[in-house]
């Protein structure tokens, strides 16, 4: 819960940074990088989910990040939240079913 509370200011600042600062650079605009705009919120949510797949922090990140993205974009509230939440569940599913991360056992 504490971690999720930290995510709120983190994603808030990250969204503002993305929508107000990075919009001046072509690589973060539509068609900027291989035809895709770089989305820091999306990258952060994916990374949080991948590195901590066993807790609910991924879903919390998706919800928070998606919410702020929706606030500062033209889409209706819920658009990015749904996409990110579904993405987090999908990543978790893939990691649980098909990926085995080798753990180095202590001697």
């Amino acid at each position: 819960m504490k971690k999720i509370l930290i995510l709120i200011p983190f994603f808030y600042i990250l969204t503002l940074f993305q929508t107000s600062f990075l919009t001046h650079f072509n690589i973060f605009l539509e068609g900027g990088f291989l035809g895709w705009a770089l989305n820091l919120i999306l990258i952060a949510v994916i990374l949080i989910t991948v590195f901590d797949p066993n807790t609910k922090i991924g879903v919390g990140a998706a919800f928070t990040g998606g919410f702020f993205l929706d606030i500062f974009s033209e889409n209706f509230i819920g658009f990015h939240i749904l996409i990110l939440v579904i993405l987090v569940f999908f990543i978790k599913f893939i990691l649980r079913k098909y990926v085995r991360i080798p753990i180095i056992k202590p001697a």
């Binding site: 600042i13 503002l16 107000s20 990075l22 001046h24």
Partner: protein, 268 residues
């Protein structure tokens, strides 16, 4: 009743969708967005300015290469335009010369060929013009300016060029007269080249009176030049009682430094 994790997730998503639909349909989302915009405005402004300044900086760096390329292109274009400008100036000059020649009716008296000076050898009193045998030039054709001043005659003819022997050349000698009021008062003489652009009027009878500033023109005698071409004006009369003839120094009617366009008389 215990729900499986899959059903739980599905249920959460459905509930979320329902919540968002209600949120957006009631217009509450606008108020939420407005609230966030309001509190975020100072941070957004700071980020916006910083992003703007930084992108401007990077833009300048990336523009330098572009500007450099543009500069090179403009330089080339400028050179091309300068070349074209020079060509047009030359054409204009040529046009003016032809107009002047037309105004004094040169083309009615003679069949002319326009030529340009390509080289000058003052020490030898010769010029090189850009018309040769290919253009119908033959040896001994007279050469004049557009003001009808005599320059000389063709000495040597090449395929594309010709050498003009100026009337001031030491080997040049032709009949001339000093213009008088009518034909009876004309004073005949022989103009000889003295080299270094100097001319001398010789063999003028002692009893004839010549004075400075009198104009010297060609006569048809000898058939080298057509009559009436301006040779120059008397600069200094040299008269001596012990000699049978009197003479005079002549100032040529042309300024060799200014010579650029000439006419070759191909038929007179």
């Amino acid at each position: 009743m215990k729900l499986s994790p899959g059903v739980k997730i599905g249920l959460i998503i459905v509930l979320l969708i329902a919540f968002f639909i209600v949120l957006n349909l009631t217009g509450f989302s606008k108020e939420v967005k407005n609230f966030f915009y309001l509190i975020s405005s100072p941070i957004q402004k700071t980020f916006w300015r910083a992003g703007n300044n930084l992108s401007d900086f990077f833009e300048v760096i990336s523009e330098i290469e572009k500007i450099k390329k543009e500069d090179e292109e403009l330089l080339l274009k400028n050179q091309a335009l300068l070349a074209e400008n020079t060509r047009l100036k030359e054409l204009k000059k040529e046009n003016e010369v032809l107009r002047e020649a037309l105004e004094i009716g040169l083309e009615k008296e003679f069949k002319l060929l326009l030529s340009e000076v390509r080289g000058k050898d003052i020490s030898q009193d010769t010029l090189l013009i850009n018309k040769g045998s290919k253009d119908g030039i033959l040896k001994d054709f007279p050469v004049i300016t557009q003001q009808k001043a005599l320059i000389g005659k063709i000495g040597e003819v090449y395929e594309n060029f010709s050498k003009v022997i100026l009337i001031s050349n030491k080997e040049s000698s032709f009949d001339a007269k000093i213009m008088g009021g009518d034909d009876d008062n004309d004073i005949q003489g022989v103009v000889k080249g003295k080299g270094n652009l100097k001319l001398f009027l010789d063999l003028v009878p002692q009893e004839k009176e010549i004075k400075e500033s009198d104009l010297v023109v060609t006569t048809a005698l000898g058939g080298i030049f057509p009559k009436g071409l301006l040779v120059g004006e008397i600069k200094e009369v040299l008269k001596s009682d012990i000699q049978p003839w009197q003479g005079a120094k002549i100032k040529p009617a042309f300024d060799v430094k200014e010579l650029e366009t000439l006419f070759v008389i191909v038929n007179f």
